[in-house]
Each structure stands twice: as structure tokens, then as C-alpha cells.
């Protein structure tokens, strides 16, 4: 496989996603931007990151998946206006980013639903072609 696949993958994902942690190598999380740079520099780390991308994995155990998903969701929600209602459900609940983040940090059922969805989305993201 070539680094063109990594470049093609990088070009298809969004600007925000490029700077969220996604790929785990030797206990460290790397963003797509870091992976793109390392691969194009031809480093040893880049080779490991490229192998993950090519295999469509982000290289974590389930515990690490949850940890990275929480970091990503936290980073996303903290970038929003904290007191504006941005999310609602058809059970008459509304959430500001701060309230939703509190659900996630507390590990409520609603918070867990978002974390699991983020893990699914991370899997889909690393498999974008």
C-alpha cells in the first residue's frame, strides 16, 4: 500500500476531524493531521499509523476506545456556546453542550449513548476511503 491512500483518506475527512485524536500507537493518541504529517515525512511512527489506517482500525482496546471517545466528545462540546440549547430528544429533554458533557462525564445512560455512538463514528472515520 502507498501513502496515497493515507493522503486520500486525510483529504476526505473534515477540518475538525483532522485535529481530534483518533489513532492509538504505543499508548499515545494521534490526530489525522499528525498521521498525515508523519506518513508524509516517512517516519517509523508514520509507518505504524499508515498500517492502522490501511487496516481500518484505530488500534485500541475497548477501554482505550471509551477514553479516546470521551476526549473527542469533550473537545467538540467544549468548543460550542455552553449555554445554548443545541440538542433535544423526543422525550421532552433539552441539553446545552455543558449539560450534555455533564451527562457524559457522569456516565449516565444518555452520556453512554453518546460515547458508544462516537466509538462507532471513529470506526467509520478510520475506514473512510
Amino acid at each position: 500500500m502507498s501513502k496515497e491512500l493515507v493522503n486520500q483518506w486525510y483529504n476526505k475527512i473534515s477540518n475538525v476531524e483532522r485535529n481530534l485524536p483518533l489513532l492509538l500507537v504505543d499508548g499515545y493518541a494521534y490526530t489525522p493531521q499528525m498521521a498525515y504529517d508523519e506518513v508524509n515525512n516517512g517516519s517509523a511512527l508514520g509507518a505504524k499509523l499508515q498500517a492502522l489506517i490501511e487496516s481500518g482500525r484505530f488500534g485500541t482496546s475497548s477501554l482505550e476506545e471509551v477514553a479516546i471517545a470521551k476526549v473527542r466528545v469533550r473537545q467538540i462540546l467544549q468548543s460550542k456556546p455552553q449555554d445554548k440549547i443545541l440538542f433535544a430528544t423526543m422525550s421532552n429533554k433539552t441539553f446545552t453542550p455543558a449539560q450534555l458533557l455533564a451527562e457524559i462525564e457522569s456516565g449516565t445512560q444518555i452520556g453512554e449513548q453518546w460515547v458508544q455512538s462516537e466509538i462507532s463514528r471513529m470506526t467509520a472515520l478510520v475506514r473512510v476511503r
Binding site: 473534515s14 476531524e17 440538542f87 433535544a88 430528544t89 422525550s91 444518555i110 463514528r121
Partner: protein
């Protein structure tokens, strides 16, 4: 008496953030209704239990798509008025022999199965929260519409003559299309693209279809053009044969 084909009821309350769904459903009905269909839309305060029961009794629609806040056992409409309880047999009987789609939270846990047990032919709903994005005013952007565009694809397909099973398959495809739009498509750099993609992912994962997949609430609307098209060559062939016979006799 069996519910009537080509007869639809849409329940569209607009309070407590329900306008985010109702505006989309109304647009979808307007864009996809076919001639010959008897369609009732109960909008805003008209989306109340009394008027809903009146339409069910009077028009006897085969298909009902309703928006409302819900729980495992209760579905509510305008002003959070309960319409259906999982333990209330007379309420469940309101939906006997009908196709019922509830854009609501959690009703697939108990209420949906209870409806099927009570004679509803097909049910569509959610076994967890149904999420939507409220960052813009209701109905104004793709971002706030997207979860409902996926949800109401089921209704689009039924209005166009497809069966419940086909409509369900179309809905799942639409979910994937909307997710792709926010992940790698034109919407990927929207400031809330990742949250909207997550919302769609969650809704798709908890969407639940129960009952029969072979029911077509409006069969002729989709089938008629195809039948006409396939009949045209036969008509031409018969006419040509007739003309040939006529010429042969004359000769």
C-alpha cells in the same frame, strides 16, 4: 372494518420543540402526496387526542405517522396529552389494522410491541432516545432537518406506493446517506457536523421496525405508472397486429 388504503393521517404538534419535526413532515407530505390519496394533517393544537380519535373513526386511515414525546409505555401529542398507553387496550385498539410510525423516544420498548399484539399491522419507532439538533430555528437548515429527513423517509416511500418493508429499507439507506453527508459530504465542515452525524448514528441504531413488511398503504400510486408503461408495448403490438390483419383481408 379494515382500515382504508390510500388514507393517511399525519399528526404534527408544534409545542415543546416538536416543531423541529412537524415542519419537516409537513414539507414531506406536500412534496410526496399523490392524486387519489385522502390525507389528513392535524397540525399544532389540532394534534390533540380528541381530533385524532375523530379522524381515526371517521376516515379510518391505513397509515398514521405521528410526532410526539414518548416513553417506554406512553405516546403523547400536543401539550403532552397522552394518546396511547401500553396497558390501555381501548387505546391500543385505536391502531388496530393500521401502519403506525411514531417519531418519538423509547416507545419500541413496550408500547410498540403492545400495539403489534393488539392488531397494529406494522410499527416503526425507537427503543432509546430520538435525538435532534436545535442549533438553528425549526425547519430552516439541513442541520436541524437532517434527523427528520432520515426518519420520515419511511413516510416518503409509503406515500409513493411502496410496501412497509421497502419503506423501512429506504429509511435505513437514507440514514446512511445523511450520515455520509455530514462525515465526508458537503456538510462535513459544518461547525456541528460531528454532533449531527452522531445524532443520526444513534437514531439509526435505535430505530425499530415491528410487524408486517408486505403492507402497501397506497399501492396504486407507485404501481400505476409502471403498469401503464409495461402495457404500452402490448397495446402497440395489438394495434400493429390488427392493422396487419386488416391489410391482409383487404388484399
Amino acid at each position: 372494518m379494515p382500515a382504508l388504503s390510500n388514507t393517511f393521517l399525519f399528526v404534527e404538534p408544534d409545542d415543546n420543540y416538536l416543531d423541529y419535526g412537524s415542519t419537516v413532515l409537513h414539507q414531506i407530505v406536500e412534496a410526496n402526496k399523490q392524486s387519489g390519496q385522502d390525507i389528513t394533517e392535524l397540525m399544532g393544537a389540532d394534534a390533540n387526542p380528541d381530533k385524532i380519535k375523530q379522524i381515526l373513526a371517521g376516515k379510518n386511515p391505513l397509515a398514521c405517522a405521528m410526532i410526539g414525546h414518548g416513553s417506554e409505555t406512553i405516546f403523547t401529542v400536543f401539550n403532552l396529552a397522552p394518546l396511547l398507553h401500553a396497558q390501555n387496550l381501548s387505546e391500543l385498539a385505536l391502531m388496530n389494522s393500521r401502519v403506525v410510525a411514531l417519531c418519538s423516544c423509547l416507545t419500541a420498548v413496550s408500547l410498540g410491541p403492545a400495539l403489534i399484539d393488539a392488531g397494529t399491522v406494522s410499527y416503526l419507532g425507537y427503543n432509546k432516545e430520538f435525538w435532534f439538533y436545535t442549533g438553528d430555528n425549526a425547519g430552516t437548515t439541513r442541520a436541524v432537518q437532517s434527523p427528520f429527513l432520515a426518519e420520515f423517509q419511511f413516510t416518503v416511500s409509503l406515500l409513493r406506493g411502496k410496501s412497509t418493508g421497502e419503506a423501512r429499507a429506504d429509511q435505513l439507506v437514507k440514514y446512511d446517506e445523511e450520515i455520509a453527508y455530514w462525515t465526508t459530504g458537503d456538510g462535513k465542515n459544518h461547525p456541528s457536523a460531528s454532533e449531527i452525524a452522531n445524532i443520526l448514528q444513534m437514531n439509526k441504531g435505535t430505530s425499530t421496525f415491528l410487524g408486517q413488511g408486505s403492507v402497501s398503504p397506497s399501492p396504486q400510486s407507485g404501481a400505476l405508472p409502471a403498469q401503464i408503461n409495461s402495457a404500452i408495448p402490448l397495446v402497440v403490438a395489438v394495434a400493429a397486429l390488427g392493422y396487419a390483419v386488416y391489410k391482409t383481408v383487404l388484399a
